[in-house]
Amino acid sequence: MSLGNLPQSVQYAIGGIFGLLVITQIIVAILRRLKPDADYTELSLRVRTWWVMAGVFALAMVLSRTISLLFLAFVSFLAVKEYFSLIPTRRADRRAIFWAYLAIPIQFYWVYHGWYGMFIVFIPVYMFLFLPFRMIMIGETESFLRSTAQIHWGLMLMVFNLSHAAFLLVLKIKGNPIAIPGPGLLLYLVFLTQANDIFQYIWGKLLGKRKIIPKISPNKTWAGFIGGVVSTTACAVLLGEWLTPFDRTQSLAAGLIIGLGGFVGDINISALKRDLGIKDTSGLLPGHGGILDRVDSLTFTAPLFFHYVYWLFLWESHGA
């Protein structure tokens, strides 16, 4: 059976993710049997939400490339909406924020057409110039810098950075129009980024003692960080040859980039939450928090991984 236009390896990988979820579910059931007194509500909730997220993501991937792009645009919209709802905004910012939202469909339109040149400058240049212009038209100068800066920061992190994951889908290898490396690369990035979070958590729980960055995140330990990066890199090497055009060394570097980048992306959002005095960004994903809590690492790994891949091979891309 062929699912959409996905390469065989990606189809198996998606199957593998559900296999892992089944195993997790079994482990949770065994834990319940072994230690019936402990509270597993949070863990079960977390795993159940993983099923939903993996299901929606897999469905979007399988249906078509356009639907995958729409899905990623929607995730981007949810993340930036969470951000705009949490930060202190002014009434005068409403229209600037409205334009910031409009940047999402426009940015993903460039992605859809594979127009690299526009994709890479639209938010850092055009939106960067347009948002303050719109705010000047409104005329409120009190907290002008704070407002323009924080709106653009959100746009960069949650729209521009996340859209790099989407651009992977439209990449075409130069001189080889038949190969479709995109879905494999996207799955590789998303799977390793999420796995890195889980590895860090597990290693931290098992061996974690010395805190790595207590001022920002009291739960992050050196053991979690190092264990996470090593495990992620090992997974990256194992999966690289199968899901991506990488050789072993290239996979190793990709794993390091995702492991290190994911860690920084995670604590970046932690720092934001500390600043705002909140624990979770919302209650949208039971057991996980908000969308922003889930895509925090991806906001860093997506652009880092994308530019690594973009530099590594020769691609066809319009406008580059």
Binding site: K81, E82, R90, Y101
Partner: protein, 227 residues
């Protein structure tokens, strides 16, 4: 019937249940879930059947729409929001919409020289077993600024001491669509449902209790200032 003296009422016989259901299911629900995003705490405390009062703070026209989608669709026909007659019946199309789709219970705010009891229409609905939604701040006011409730709700509570009054605190809709703005900007909204309360026997203590409940609900969220 108290509605007889209202302008435009003769051509607007009542709620259109089909259009109302379609509007709330296809438009309001989609806007609330996709465009806005709603976080509800203790939804189970909302009344499951009438008669009941639901009182909330008022920031936006969206308040009532959002509140109405939080109830199961099966009791939509029982939901009646109270709204100012002078505002909503000013223009024919708006009056049609307010009356037939939203199903408002019109409240005459200009009481001067009026012979009728302004709360009689609400009374009829309560006696019929409806869930009446009220915004005792009286108007939307400054968005995201909580104002003390007006005492009309105390009169109703005294008249119907057995009818539960559920306080609800809303946040975020005033950012999404404040007064004097026509452009909807997406923001997540919070809805905190309080425990139902009843008439306490005295107007002043009742109002203090209700305002205090609203204040407690408001303090549950750590909302950043908005101005």
């Amino acid at each position: 019937m108290v509605r007889e003296h209202l302008p435009g009422h003769d051509v607007l016989p009542g709620i259109n249940p089909v259009l109302r259901w379609l509007f709330f299911t296809l438009v309001v629900k989609v806007v609330c879930l996709v465009v806005l995003g709603v976080n509800v705490r203790r939804r189970h405390q909302l009344p499951k059947k009438g008669p009941a009062f639901v009182v909330a703070n008022h920031n936006s026209h969206l308040d009532v729409l959002l509140l109405m989608t939080l109830f199961p669709r099966s009791i939509l026909p029982r939901l009646r929001p109270v709204a100012a007659a002078d505002y909503f019946f000013l223009y024919k199309p708006l009056a049609w919409f307010a009356h037939r789709i939203i199903g408002i219970l019109p409240l005459e705010r200009e009481i001067a020289g009026m012979r009728q009891d302004p709360l009689a229409g609400i009374g009829v609905a309560v006696e019929r077993g409806d869930i009446v939604i009220l915004f005792p701040e009286g108007q939307r006011g400054e968005p995201e600024v909580f104002e003390q409730f007006k005492t009309g709700i105390a009169h109703l509570a005294r008249r119907y001491p057995d009818v539960p009054i559920t306080p609800v605190f809303l946040h975020g809709l005033g950012k999404a669509l404040p007064r004097d703005e026509a452009l909807l900007v997406p923001f997540f909204c919070d809805v905190f449902v309080g425990e139902p309360m009843y008439w306490s026997g005295k107007k002043q203590t009742f109002m203090e209790m209700l305002n205090c409940r609203m204040q407690t609900l408001a303090e549950e969220g750590d909302f950043k200032p908005w101005s």
